[in-house]
Amino acid sequence: MSTEHATAANEAPLVEVRGLVKEFGIRQGIFSRQKWHRAVDDVSFSVGRARTLALVGESGSGKSTVGLMLLDLLPPTSGDILLEGRPVAALRGRARLALCRRMQIVFQDPYASLNARLTVRETLVEPLMVHGIGASASERERRAGDLLEDVGLSRTQLDRYPHEFSGGQRQRIAIARALSVEPDFIVLDEPTSALDVSVQSQILNLLRRLQRERGLTYLFITHNLGVVDYFADDVAVMQQGRIVESGPAGAVFDSPRQEYTRKLLRAVPSFDPAHRKLSSL
């Protein structure tokens, strides 16, 4: 990351998270005392406009929980989420709804995240209606067609159901749905983990183009460090609910300061049979 970028990011982060905590209550049996598990423990970060922050970590590290809280899909136990410097929690009613419009999410499994009983048209038009976008039904339908073309599908496919599409095509539809309300910020929760590598490359190219064209800001949640090394500007490494290390992706990968980051990087296969790494573990 150049210093110029760093300053720009520091001046006006689009999204900022301060001291975010999420505790889940767990009970072993009906008579046992309630215990608390801290899934997210004092997490702070900020994402500059039109940049990509990758949140990496292993399963159970709390990275997806952070994503859900950002989207207002899960209430934080404590801490603040700020959009353009304004705390999200203070907003109610219409203002809250307007906020939801600016932040969207794409989930890992495009087989589970699309409603199987809705056509692509219905899937794309519904968020427009919720947010009152588009003057008329025909206007909304036109927008749905445009969206589909923008993600590399054809408007002739508007009346099809999710099961008629491949995994990669479904992920394109999920991306189109996220884009439909013209958000600034998109949480990408393992968006390519369920896809083959040849399809993954298509989706990554699409996400890159959309970011360029629309100035989108991404929080890219993933366990795939190869994807991060290619795609992200900055990276935050999570372990057991905490961010243990963060910084520009290149710097963190080249000279990790924390032992946990080093352990993660060592565990990535080498792609080179002449230089195997895992035998030394």
Binding site: D196, H223, G226, D254, A267, P269, S270, P273
Partner: protein, 346 residues
């Protein structure tokens, strides 16, 4: 002699859409003590190939149509279900991707591992229990897990238990179908290191089925790349990564995200795998291939060169090809090389 030798295996599945041919003329062999990786993307037929070897193709829809599967010189496809039974789980063991669905939820770990020995008459009673503990210890699972049920264990622990169970009878061949796909990278690294270590100690052969080229680079001696029901390239691991020949293999490497590609679009393979109910007459990759010419759609390619260590199923390598340029351009192989060398923190 090869431990496992598969010749022209063909498996079909009857479906409403017609006869599907997921495994369509597959041949390979696995030497004792070696690891062969069968690599390909979803739907290429790699898992169905593994199930066919053990005759576990789902019935009645599935059927092994033809081919031969020699294990220590005996053709397994000639054996009855009863005759297969002593081989499965003893001489040939298999581990699956999802340990939760392949372990029995109502039996403890100990009961399941001991059962695996008892059904084959390998050991029983105190001796079986002692071996179960030893087997768990080798995969670094504590003895107390014997009394636990699968749901009480984490994903990594369950996969270790699966491996302990598969290895307790000291198989000659381990078939591992995406053994680490559901696991975190650090656990994956431990499991792969473990499989390699056990292989070295026991001289066991491994048939590893995976879509992950990184895993292949880490553990395979030999690689067979599958596409649309067929093997399209076959080579020693070092050779395949240094010089991928088939346009599909090159495309797979080129589509990997890596720092070397930062700021550029990744290479994509446009189009999709042809329909398995009606494979094309010519090359199955033709539609997506950047080098295709007239011959490709008309004639199915054989393996060229036929007798070398590194054959590819592609007309570009036909010594008598009618295309002016033979082979793929050097630049494509070098691009793949650049991505391989520019992997994460390698």
């Amino acid at each position: 002699m090869a431990l496992l030798k598969v010749e022209d295996l063909r498996t079909v599945i009857r479906s409403r859409a017609g006869l599907v041919r997921p495994v369509d003329g597959v041949s390979f062999s696995v030497e004792p003590g070696q690891t062969l990786a069968l690599v390909g993307e979803s739907g290429c037929g790699k898992s169905m190939t593994a199930l066919s070897l053990l005759q576990l193709v789902p019935e009645p829809a599935g059927l092994i149509e033809s081919g031969r599967v020699f294990f220590e010189g005996r053709d397994l496809l000639e054996l009855s279900w009863e005759e297969m039974r002593p081989l499965r789980g003893r001489d040939m063991a298999m581990i699956f991707q999802e340990p939760m669905t392949s372990l029995n939820p109502v039996l403890t770990v100990g009961q399941q591992i001991i059962e695996a020995m008892e059904v084959h008459g390998v050991a029983r009673g105190g001796e079986a229990r002692r071996r179960a503990i030893e087997s768990l210890r080798r995969v670094e699972v504590r003895e107390s897990a014997l009394r636990q049920y699968p749901h009480e264990l984490s994903g990594g622990m369950r996969q270790r238990v699966m491996i302990a169970m598969a290895l307790v009878n000291r198989p000659k061949l381990l078939i591992a179908d995406e053994p680490t796909t559901a696991l975190d990278v650090t656990v994956q690294a431990q499991i792969l290191a473990l499989i390699r270590e056990l292989q070295r100690e026991e001289g066991m052969a491994v048939l590893l089925i995976t879509h992950d080229l990184g895993i292949v680079a880490e553990v395979a001696n030999h690689v067979a790349v599958m596409y649309a029901g067929q093997i399209v390239e076959n080579a020693p691991a070092g050779e395949l990564f240094a010089r991928p020949l088939h346009p599909y293999t090159q495309g797979l490497f080129a589509s990997l995200p890596a720092r070397a590609r930062r700021g550029h679009d990744l290479t994509t393979l446009e189009g999709r795998v042809p329909d398995a109910t009606a494979w094309p007459v010519g090359c199955r990759f033709e539609q997506r291939c950047r080098y295709r010419w007239g011959t490709c759609a008309r004639v199915a390619p054989a393996f060229y060169p036929a007798d070398a260590e590194h054959p590819a199923r592609c007309h570009l390598y036909d010594p008598e090809t009618d295309r002016p340029m033979k082979g793929t351009p050097r630049a494509e192989q070098e691009q793949a090389r650049e991505i391989i060398e520019g992997g994460v923190a390698s």
